[in-house]
Structure formats: structure tokens, C-alpha cells
Symmetry: C2
Subunit: 550 residues, 2 copies
């Protein structure tokens, strides 16, 4: 009878345990969890705090009792594994209920300890109104604090996915929320012009945010906290959520001499096995080669952790038969009314890696415009300049954002190209899409760029340009032009361009723009085929330009 020991009882650990049991009814399976709860919905925690999820027990997907009854797994909560003795194949456990320590042996050890929120040694950080959020315990503390203290103001430090979810949920409780973020934008996996749309949305919700600013100190002022920023700004508040990131929980495995990657994650091979053949690791704690760069990266996401749990169990029980292929960090968040999603690498990440790329932005609507309820979206894709191999995508909109990001992620993971996007055979009826889905359109536009049928510039190129050497050509209608345009631009409506070619200078670089890019493209085609040689379309049109430069 095999004996399997698991460290960590939530996304990775519990899933591995469940699959282990289904594969091997006879094995002894022990799952250690240092906290009080297993199998809880980490991802639901912000929504419980914000009262969107009303019942606390909904967060507890499984309990030690249900796990025992259904899966005959020996779940030991409030018991922390303090040491791994690899030679002896044992672990040392501290029982936090009794204070006792003891030793348990294993045939195979599965390590899924997760990650811990970063808490830098900022002066005043131990103030009792400052919280991090990782587990049910943290959640209970925040919830109790909110119920008892009824804070009216909150500051969220760090504007990642969890930070923004918390901002929304605290806002839902009626608090005035301020976000502080070191970077010049929210949501690091997005490129700036995409994040700019999120900024605009946050403004409409009266959420204040300070970018390019960090915390110098927290100060106690009466019964609340003063957050002192590096810029000198001071914000008084009753509640601080610190969500500036997490780092893998690797103390235990490091002490056991298991190999770590440079960034600190547990290094595993394609079978999710550490450098000790009897020890497998998964979840937030591991580092695995990124499918595009090949470099070891951490992925702090529940989907991959769950999928890895099944792979690990298979490899533990059946020998190394199942290969993990890595993750491209496909992620999504609801930010108030909008949905923000990304997959693969952003332009800034590609730049950092020294990978050549082209990017393209389109705007459109979630389904056929003639059917009620169509909502705008913005979709940016990044691809290889010759082959069109996909590198990444980012999308913001209202509905159907998840659908398109999932489709692009699926194509990307299969080493697909922008041509594959064109061919996606989506299910179309007016309530769901258009006859050409946004993913198809993204592929069409990208092809035009790749094949030099269309030269594009992005908002940054254009805003950095010396306007004397170029002709900015606004091909929207005079009415649209009137409502707002890039300074110094000439307005020749696309539908009139063939008649008005004379008015457009032939000796200048021409940068065409329209609302979102499509009429600009049409105009570029007309100009190029009428002998204009230096013609560019502004990617994403005036919409992206305005978002980013306003």
C-alpha cells in the first residue's frame, strides 16, 4: 500500500488528493494544512468581503469531514509541516491544536504550499488596520473589522487583479476607496494604453488612484491610519489592504535542499517533479519554463494549480506519464462594470525579453451592432513580425471578453498564428457575436500589417512625432472631427477621399486616423494605391489615442 503525503490543502493540494484517491483506492493519503480550512475558494474571498457572496460556508468547497467521507483522505488541519527529511522520506509536523510535533513517513510527497503576500518592512506596517488577503483567516479578520469598525475610507496598496477586486468590493460596501500603485498604471500584465481604459473606468466610479507612487510609512492618527506616500501626499483612512504581490512559500523546500529557480519558485521538470524523484510540487510555489520565453516563471493562478494537481496525481500513481506544458498566465478580472483579461506576453514584457513583435489594437462590439445590448471592446494582440506567431493578447470590454481571451490563449498555446485567429469558426447568432468575430477581425488586421498591406503606428509614436513633418489625416466625418481630434490634423472624410486626393500632401508622411482604425485602414488602402507612399494608420484610432493621452 502506497503512502502519499501532501503539504497544503487548497487548490493544488486538495485537487491532487482527490485524484490520487480516484486512481488508488487503497493508498494511504494524508493531507496537511497549517490553516483551519481546506479546499476553500481563494478567488471568492474578495466577493465575500464585499457581500456579493453572502454565505461564508459557500467559500468552503470541501471540509475535512466531507473529504474523509467521499475520498477517504486523512486531512489534518492546523498541522504544519515544519521539515522535510528527504533521506528518511519523512516530514516533521507541528500540530497547532496540541502544540505537539511528530513525524510521518511518505513514499511520495506532494508539495503545494502556495504563496504568501509580500509585506515589506515599511514603518508602521503592523498597524491593526492594515491587512493582507490570502486565506479564510485573513478574510474573517477583514470582514470582522469592516462589520465592527464600519470604515468609511479604504486605501488599497497595489493595483493588481486582487487589489482591484478588493477596491471594487470595498466600494460596494460604501467606502471611499483610494488606490496607490508604484507603476504608472494598474494591472501589470496590461500594456499602458489598455490600462488607460481601466483608469478611465475607475474614474467614472469615483475611485481615486495615485500612480507612480509608493508608501513611505503608515502612521497612527487617533483611531485611524495615515498613509504617507513617497510623493509626500498623505491619505487618512480607516482600512488599508496591502496587495502588492505574493512570493512563493519555499522556506520548507529550500531547507530540504530542493532546487529553486532564480525567481525563488520550486524548480520542477515537465512531470512537475522536483530534483528529488520522490517529491512533486505544484501551484503558486513552483517555477516552470514559460511556453514563449522558455524562462522559469511563477504563475499565481488557480486554473493551472488545479490542472497541475491532476497531472501530479497521475505521475505519482502511474509513474511519470503525464507532461505539463506550462502556462501563459491567462487571467481575467471583473473591474466594476468592465472585464479585463490578458494572456501571453504584453509588449513591455516582449521588449524586456528582446523579442521582436508587432502589436495591433482593434475596437468593436461584443455582438452584432443591430441586436440590442452590444457593448464596446478593445482587443490588442501581439505577434511575431514575420510568421505572425501569437505572443499575447489583452482585452477589455463588457461581455464576451472571457470567450475571446480563451480562444486566443488556446491558439497561442498550440503555437498558433494570427492566421489561425482568422479561421476560428465561432458560433454566430446576433446575441452572441458578429459574422466575423473580434478574434477573426484581429487576425485580418494583423495579416494586413504583416503583409505590408497596411503600415501602422501606435499612439505613442504619433504623440512623440514632430507634427511639422507629417500630415495627420482625420478621415472621420466633419461632425466627429468637430467633437475632438488630434491637434493639427486635416479632415478629409473617408467617403470623400477619392474626390479630394489633391488636398492631401504627397511630400509628407501621412498618418491617417479614424475612430477606431477601420475607416483609417480603408483610407490608407485608397491612398497607397493612388501613389501615396508613406502612409500609416493609427492603430486603435482616436479612441485609443484619446484614452492614453488624456
Amino acid at each position: 500500500m502506497a503512502k502519499y503525503v501532501i503539504i497544503g490543502g487548497v487548490a493544488g493540494g486538495a485537487t491532487a488528493a482527490a485524484r490520487l484517491r480516484r486512481l488508488d483506492e487503497q493508498a494511504e493519503i494524508i493531507m496537511f494544512e497549517r490553516g483551519q480550512y481546506i479546499s476553500y475558494a481563494n478567488c471568492g474571498l474578495p466577493y465575500y468581503i464585499g457581500d456579493t457572496i453572502k454565505e461564508r460556508e459557500k467559500l468552503l468547497v470541501q471540509t475535512p469531514e466531507s473529504f474523509k467521507a467521499r475520498l477517504n483522505v486523512d486531512v489534518r488541519v492546523l498541522q504544519e509541516v515544519m521539515k522535510i527529511n528527504r533521506e528518511a522520506k519523512t516530514v516533521e509536523i507541528q500540530n497547532h491544536k496540541t502544540g505537539e510535533s511528530y513525524v510521518e513517513s511518505y513514499d511520495k510527497l506532494i508539495v503545494s504550499p502556495g504563496a504568501e503576500p509580500v509585506r515589506p518592512p515599511i514603518p508602521g506596517i503592523s498597524h491593526p488596520s492594515i491587512f493582507t488577503l490570502r486565506n479564510v483567516h485573513d478574510t474573517d479578520k477583514i470582514k470582522t473589522y469592516c462589520n465592527e469598525r464600519k470604515p468609511r475610507r479604504a486605501v488599497v496598496i497595489g493595483a493588481g487583479f486582487i487589489g482591484l477586486e478588493m477596491a471594487e468590493n470595498l466600494h460596494a460596501l460604501g467606502m471611499d476607496v483610494t488606490i496607490v500603485e508604484m507603476a504608472n498604471q494598474v494591472m501589470a500584465p496590461l500594456d499602458y494604453e489598455m490600462a488607460a481604459e481601466v483608469h478611465q473606468h475607475l474614474k467614472t466610479k469615483n475611485v481615486e488612484f495615485y500612480l507612480k507612487d509608493g508608501v513611505n510609512a503608515f502612521e497612527k492618527v487617533d483611531d485611524h491610519v495615515k498613509v504617507v506616500l513617497q510623493s509626500g501626499r498623505e491619505i487618512e483612512t480607516e482600512l488599508v489592504i496591502l496587495s502588492i504581490g505574493v512570493r512563493p512559500e519555499t522556506k520548507l523546500v529550500k531547507e530540504a535542499g530542493l532546487e529553486l529557480a532564480e525567481n525563488g519558485g520550486i524548480k520542477v521538470n515537465e512531470y512537475l517533479q522536483t530534483n528529488d524523484e520522490h517529491v512533486y510540487a505544484l501551484g503558486d510555489a513552483i517555477a516552470f519554463p514559460h511556453p514563449i520565453t522558455g524562462k522559469y516563471v511563477n504563475t499565481y493562478l488557480a486554473g493551472p494549480a488545479n490542472k497541475q494537481g491532476r497531472i501530479v496525481a497521475d505521475n505519482v500513481v502511474m509513474g511519470n506519464t503525464r507532461v505539463y506544458k506550462g502556462a501563459i498566465a491567462t487571467a481575467i478580472a471583473k473591474v466594476f462594470d468592465i472585464t479585463v483579461a490578458s494572456t501571453g506576453l504584453a509588449a513591455k514584457a516582449l521588449k524586456k525579453e528582446g523579442i521582436d513583435y508587432i502589436s495591433s489594437i482593434i475596437h468593436g462590439s461584443s455582438h452584432a451592432g443591430y441586436y440590442p445590448g452590444a457593448m464596446p471592446y478593445t482587443l490588442k494582440i501581439l505577434f511575431q513580425p514575420k510568421t505572425g506567431k501569437l505572443y499575447g493578447a489583452q482585452m477589455i470590454g463588457y461581455d464576451g471578453v472571457d470567450k475571446r481571451i480563451d480562444l486566443i490563449a488556446t491558439v497561442l498555446m498550440k503555437n498558433g498564428t494570427i492566421y489561425d485567429l482568422q479561421e476560428i469558426e465561432h458560433a454566430y447568432a446576433p446575441p452572441y457575436s458578429s459574422a466575423k468575430d473580434p478574434v477573426n477581425q484581429a487576425g485580418f488586421v494583423a495579416e494586413n500589417i504583416l503583409t505590408d498591406r497596411l503600415k501602422v503606428m501606435n499612439w505613442r509614436d504619433v504623440s512623440n512625432m514632430d507634427s511639422r513633418n507629417i500630415c495627420l489625416l482625420d478621415v472621420r466625418t466633419p461632425e466627429e472631427h468637430e467633437l475632438g481630434h488630434i491637434e493639427g490634423s486635416l479632415n478629409v472624410e473617408v467617403d470623400k477621399i477619392r474626390e479630394r486626393l489633391d488636398e492631401i500632401p504627397r511630400d509628407k508622411k501621412i498618418i491617417v486616423y479614424c475612430g477606431v482604425g477601420i475607416r483609417g485602414y480603408f483610407a490608407c488602402r485608397i491612398l497607397t494605391q493612388n501613389g501615396f507612399t508613406d502612409v500609416y494608420n493609427l492603430s486603435g484610432g482616436y479612441k485609443t489615442y484619446e484614452h492614453t493621452t488624456s
Copy 2:
């Protein structure tokens, strides 16, 4: 200067025309449309009739004028191409406005004439209250009839996607709607147990439907129609919509000696070229090899027509450079509150083709159960019994059905397997999915079946079985069992099974079932690994069984 002539000015034709112009600014492009309108939203027509789409002009995506202004295409509406002279490379046109006929030459001809509704010679079919729906003209007629006559009862003959959309929209106008369908189910691309869910939904909306029944005659009774069915049943009504299918418009090309496929569609090669190298064809009118069976099939869908339009234009202008890969009929419809979608081949189609397959049904919820608003779905997939290569999928639910069908279609079109479904890296946050998306779960379940870890039976096998030779084991809770169960089943709750193994007979075939299949799977694993050898899980559980047998 090249001269391109296009027959048909809607999905395929107009898209080809637009791309032609973008590729070739100098070409002469003439688009003939025998009707009054081009570029209209066929797919929106039912919703305009039902007042969901309020403004008629929204249906007209482009007009001859806008097409001229933006694309410089010579659009000739109310002009029908009556003859193609391939040797002379000319077409003969009848101008319905003036009654004149004339001839136009072409370098390349693009044929996208669509399909026409089938109108069998049933006695009384010319009654003025009987309509088919294909274009704006038909729509205007139905709309005017509804406005003027204010019918209170309607009969829809034929329960395909369009028939059901019409049923919903007439119902929205306050009519009592009856559906008549020859088959034993609605929506032919679905297998029976999936259609059964649609039947149940229609019942909740008080839509009457008669299956396995056809129309023998229409009779005039006072100012309304009597629909006389083959069963003898008679339905009096004020409005009949005939939606029993379409057939490709091929009279013209047939007379021109262009090759047709057996089913009547225009035969084209992978460049969408007919057997005349100067004539390309696309849209509803063509037949193209099915990616799975290799047999020529028609696809009556707007997505493929639009995509083909772009391919045809490319091949016409640049020579045969772009290959069309066929379509697997990925389709979707909103049917009242539910969404119904399918892709690839259904079980019945596979059977007909003599292709071995396995099918598997799962039920679950559209997103994490702990986040509000999660709605149930049913997902059936079909795959090759050895390799797991995907053959098709059908899904019914509320939200996110489109997402999952698109993902499966994308994997399928790349010759993907159920293992690819497992690996789909979906964007997960509680409002959008679960840590394991339904498509992942479908892949997991399928693998268990493929690897013989789980043997399954479907509702039909079970309902045909002699209950004396088997043990039907209900592993739900006693409370669930009490509320309804398959007759003669033994109830041993999954969580108690390990303690109650003695109660389960070892000499009988055991068919386990639970609510949806998952607890049944767990139970099967326990039993099999405890020496029970002949154990099956009921695919889709009691939910599917009840739907189909009630």
C-alpha cells in the same frame, strides 16, 4: 484594369466586393442583387419581426449608396443575373426596375446567390397567411401582416434554428405559438437527449409542439388557415411560418454547366473555385468537403460565408493563394432563455457515416457555484474511441455556452483531441468560470472513459435494459432518491459506499447513477477497486435520464 462581377449582394457577395476593393483600388467591380437591398442582416430578421430590433434601418448594414461612397463598388439592385455565358465570359442581366435585359462582361465572376427556403407543393400552400423568411422583402411582408392583422395564433412548421427563433419572436409579440416538426425532436444538429432539454424549456414557455408530424394540407377557413397534420390533428391559426429548410440557389450555375455536388451545392475546390477557373463561388450555395467525413456538404451559416468572401477576393486578385479549410457547422441559437449550440457531428450523424465514436455528457454550472448567478449547463462531446480525436459537441445552458462551443470548435478544427480540452488554459475568475472550466471537465471525463478507468452507459442503453439482470445503484442521498429515481434502483449514498459494500450484489452488472454523473464516477472508482468487475456509470446521470424519458 480587371473587371470583377459578383452575383448576390449580401453575406458572401458584399464581403467579397469589399475585400476586392481594398485589394484593388483600380478594378471595376459590379455587384448584382436581384432584391432591393444589399448587405442586410439576415440573421437579425426574426428579431426585427419580434420587435427586439426596433429600427428597420438597423437591418441594412450597408446600402448601394454607402457601398459606392466608401468602396466605389457599382451596386445594381433589382437586377437579376439570368444567365452565365462562360465561353464569352459574360452575364445576362434582367433589370427588374426597367424590364430591360443587357449583357455585362467579366474577367472573374463571383457567385454568392445563397439558398432559398423549401416550399413543398402541399395543398393550400399559397394561402396568403403562409410565409417563408429569407430576406428583407419577406420580413416586410410578415411584419406588415402582423401589424395589420394582429394574429393571435401562429404555427411554425419546422423546428430548426430559424424556426425556433421565429417561435420565440412571435411569442414575444403575444401570439400563441405551435411548432410542428417531422422529426422526433427540435433542432436537427442535436442528439435526442440534448433536444429533450429544449423541449422541456419550450414547455415552460407554453409553446406547444407536435413532433413526428408533418403537414398534409393547409385549408382556408374564414379569414384564417387550418393546418391539417399527417396525424389527423388540425390546428387553426392566423399565421404560418414555413421553415423546413433551404436549398442552394443553383439554377443559374447548373444551366451554365458548372459542376454541382450530389446534394446540389456548387462544387468548389480549396480555393473556392468552380470547375471554371474564372468563376468562384461561396456561401450557402456551395458544397465543400466536410473536415471530418470528407464528404461534400452545404453549410448555411453567415460566419463561413463572410470568411469565404475574403478568401475568394484574395484568390481572385492575387491568384489562388488562400485555402479554405471547410466548416464543421458551428452554430448557436437563443431559444427563449436558453442558449443552444453545436459543432461538428452529432452521434446520429456519426452513426449514419459509420464512424465509431464514444459520447459523454456532463452537467455543471456556468461559473463558480459560490459566486452568484451560476447557471446550469449540459455539455455533450463525441470523440474517437482510441485516440480521443474530437468529432463534435453540443451544449445547452444560459451563459458561456458560446464560449465553450467556440473553444471546442477551435480544437476540433485543428484535429484536436479530448486531451487538448483538458489543457485549455482558460481565464478564470469567479464571475466567468471555475478553476476547471467545463471544457476541461469534459476532457477529464472523456479520458477516464478512453482509458477504461470508467465504463459508461447512456440513458438509452439503460432504459432498454432488462432490470432483472442488473443492479441500478443510486448513489445520491436518500433525500434525492426520495424525490425521484429510476425504478428498481438501490440507494447507497456515495459517501457511505465504502461501509456498505456488502449490500451491493457482486454477481450482477451494476449501473451506478447520481444527479449528473460525478458522484457516480466516484462510486464506480470505489467499486471497481474493490473487486466489482462489471460497473458502469450513467452518463449525464439522473438529470439526462429524466429529461429524455419523461
